[in-house]
């Protein structure tokens, strides 16, 4: 089954971008939620962003889940464990998320039900009724006054004068006389800036005819209210057309303001009530998207987390299961967690134990026949040196010397193995480590005058507690390595530097030996401390392994690296004082 593999870095970038986008849009949604109109405007684009995030996440989760299932079906190493862990972590996230989702919806619905409570609606209706009844009284007063004015009008000839006189003494803002064709015959106002009278419609005229009066309460865009009263003028007519008196009465501004406020609240409440269901759907949809996004993220995280957690265990299983095939332990420097460290320590200990065991056996097995071989060769030489002459004697002498020399080489190797395998207790004593370093330097600078040693010590005298002889062996070994590395350099320089450190309130000395030689080959750097790893033609590959062994015996740390420019550096960190339990001599 083919599985699409995404670059992990690209996937990470996508995920972080989506998380950022979704979080930003959800925050915007949260802050805008106070105002339903604002929410309406921005909700669609914000939800669109989250839907896109959801689709991409779904795709990523599907890919990861598919890979996991395929691995499980193919019985791949660690797949079962990964699947179980992913299900466990995913389950832990899914159940509370679903529970929270339904609780949130329930609380949200209750919240919406509170503001749309029937009591609120009743209250608003009552407020409207109360306001109206207050204004009804004004309307009745207006009607009474207008009817009286209409009765008092005497004829069409002097209508302008009559209206001007009446409007001054009445409460009306404006008086208009019009005919049945809605033509204004006269108009009079007690305001300097009279307003354009709103002419009644034919229907309103019909109603005034039918009921002998017509009244209305109108609102204007500026929030004020106006009472209109229309009554027929019965005492005279104009060209046989019936006449009507239209009067305008303004409502007290305070009352207008309160009426407007009640009306506004009622309209707002009515709009929200009307849109209650879509608002509810909108909130549920948003919440569902948030929960689904969180769930997908949790599932994706659980799969990835399970994979990372199981990776070192898989490596351990591979290494232990396939040790015979010499599979190397994959390095996981970037993901160094407890399990990785544990596995690496375990593997290292296993390796060292294996090497120690092999070294002991080899030393024992090889050492036994060496002495008889050497003795036999020497006997042959002694016995036949008086028998043969000339070329034959030379042949015998050369051959036996070769055997003896090679036996010596073999013995040296066996001794080195023996030293690696044996773990004698450290002889801890206090001594000046700077002097020991200087002695090692002096030993090699006498041997090779061409080399330049640059020494930089943080102090002329620095007392440490350690095994002096073993550290001397370490310094000699490292200086010799540096000399070998710079053998082909035209201007070889070996830098030796010390400094003191404090780590977790413990004193340490740091020693750096660096050279400008050829440096380590890239494939060697990672495992240069392992036995038999060397680039030297004559080396046994045990020097650095022994050095590391000694430093670790002192609870120190050693690391090596190639310099950026040229050459290599070895950095040793040693505790100044040895722990009491590690001081066998005390």
């Amino acid at each position: 089954m083919a599985i699409i593999q995404l670059n992990p870095k690209t996937t990470k970038k996508i995920i972080f971008s989506l998380i950022f986008l979704s979080s930003s849009s959800l925050l915007a949604l949260m802050f805008s939620a106070d105002n339903p109109n604002e929410l309406n405007k921005i909700q669609f684009p914000l939800i669109a962003v989250n839907v896109v995030s959801f689709i991409v996440f779904l795709f990523l989760v599907s890919l990861s889940a598919k890979k996991l299932i395929v691995d499980y079906k193919q019985n791949k190493l660690g797949a079962k464990l990964r699947l179980r862990m992913a299900l466990a972590f995913g389950g832990l996230a899914v159940v509370p998320a679903i529970v929270l989702f339904f609780f949130a919806i329930s609380f949200m619905n209750k919240g919406i039900s509170v503001w749309s409570d029937a009591g609120v609606e009743q209250g608003l209706n009552n407020a409207l009724m109360l306001g109206r009844s207050a204004l009804d009284e004004k309307i009745q007063q207006g009607l009474f006054e207008t009817s009286n004015i209409a009765l008092g009008l005497t004829g069409i000839e002097s209508i302008d004068q009559q209206l001007q006189q009446v409007v001054k003494t009445s409460n009306a803002e404006q008086l208009v006389v019009l005919d049945s064709d809605l033509q204004i015959l006269s108009s009079s106002s007690n305001q300097i800036n009279r307003f354009n009278p709103r002419i009644p419609t034919r229907l309103e005229i019909e109603q005034a005819n039918l009921k002998q009066s017509w009244t209305s309460l109108d609102s204007s865009p500026n929030g004020s209210y106006l009472i209109r009263v229309l009554v027929p003028v019965l005492s005279f007519s104009s060209n046989q057309k019936p006449l009507y008196l239209l009067a305008f009465f303004s409502v007290d501004p305070k009352l207008s303001m309160m009426a407007d406020s009640v009306e506004e609240a009622y309209a707002r409440y009515g709009t929200l009530s009307f849109m209650k269901a879509p608002i509810q759907y909108s909130y549920i949809l948003t919440l569902a998207i948030v929960v689904l996004l969180a769930l997908l993220l949790a599932i994706y995280g659980s799969i990835e987390f399970a994979e990372r957690l199981v990776k070192p265990i898989e490596a351990l299983e591979k290494q232990t299961g396939a040790a015979k095939n010499k599979i190397r332990l994959p390095e996981a420097k970037d993901e160094a967690d407890e399990i990785t460290t544990l596995v690496q320590s375990f593997m290292q200990a296993q390796k060292e134990a294996a090497w120690s065991d092999v070294a002991k056996r080899m030393a024992h097995e090889i050492n036994n026949p060496l002495t008889p071989i050497q003795l036999s060769a020497e006997r042959i030489k002694k016995r036949y040196s008086s028998v043969f002459k000339g070329e034959d004697l030379d042949f015998i002498t050369h051959s036996t010397e070769t055997i003896v020399n090679q036996v010596e080489v073999l013995r040296g190797m066996v001794n080195a193995f023996g030293k690696f395998a044996e773990e004698p207790a450290l002889t801890i004593e206090s001594f000046n480590i700077i002097s020991v370093i200087k002695e090692s330097v002096s030993l090699y600078s006498k041997k090779d005058n061409k080399k330049t040693f640059k020494l930089s010590f943080h102090s002329e005298s620095f007392i440490v507690q350690a095994d002096e002889q073993k550290l001397r062996q370490v310094f000699n070994n490292l200086i010799k390595n540096a000399l070998d590395a710079t053998a082909n350099s035209t201007a070889p320089i070996i830098n030796i530097k010390t400094s003191n450190l404090k780590i977790n309130n413990k004193a340490y000395i740091e020693l750096t030996i660096s050279d400008n030689g050829q440096g380590f080959e890239p494939d060697i750097v990672g495992n240069a401390f392992e036995p038999y790893v060397t680039t030297k033609t004559k080396g046994k590959g045990l020097g650095l392994a022994i050095v590391k062994h000694i430093i670790e015996e002192h609870k120190g740390h050693i690391e090596l690296k190639n310099k950026k420019a040229q050459g290599a550096s070895v950095i040793i960190t040693l505790p100044v004082l040895q722990p009491r339990k590690d001081r066998p001599n005390e």
Partner: protein
């Protein structure tokens, strides 16, 4: 295969938009006349309010009636040419306090109030003497037609909220297009 896909997309789109928009099927008419160098129009709109729209109005939702006029020079053998366009908007709202509907002409600012929704639709259905175009802009030889597209829309209610109100009658409605000859 592609044709089937395209048809499916159209079907889904029609279903989706069909839910959020209804078309008023009544027929309207219009006519124009010249008065003091200006062409005026009398229009009869096929306007009626749906039950859901009345309910929304009475709940406090404000509606806009938009009339979009376009005067087109219809030419033989050549593409038609637009001479001008005019948009007239009316705002319709219900005042719960006065229990009256108010209709405001947003172009002139004139406001009228009515006590019933039938009065409102009657008032808005018959629009008289609407100035359309100046006579000096027209050529007597040309053939001009006036196209009127109108719609009634709930104001301040987002498309998102309208889409989520899928189960009920739409708050928006498009009126049948009306067209007439500007002059003979």
């Amino acid at each position: 295969m592609n044709r089937i896909k395209i048809r499916s997309i159209f079907l889904v789109a029609n279903l989706f938009f069909g839910l959020s928009m209804t078309v008023n099927a009544e027929v309207g008419k219009g006519s124009s006349y010249l008065d003091a160098g200006v062409y005026y129009s009398d229009i009869e709109l096929p306007l009626s309010f749906a039950q859901e729209q009345i309910k929304a109005l009475e709940s406090g939702i404000v509606f806009n009636l938009e009339l979009r006029f376009q005067i087109i020079n219809v030419r033989n053998w050549r593409p038609d040419r637009s001479i001008g366009a005019l948009t007239q908007t009316y705002t319709i709202e219900f005042n719960a306090f006065t229990r009256r509907y108010s209709v405001t002409n947003n172009n002139t600012g004139r406001q009228v109030s009515m006590s019933t929704i039938n009065e409102v639709s009657g008032y808005l259905s018959k629009i008289k003497k609407l100035p359309l175009v100046d006579d000096s802009l027209l050529s007597l030889e040309a053939n001009y037609r006036v196209f009127l597209n109108s719609n009634l829309k709930a104001r301040d209610v987002s498309q998102w909220m309208k889409t989520l109100s899928f189960w009920r009658e739409s708050l928006d409605s498009d009126l049948e297009q009306i067209q007439w000859q500007l002059f003979n």
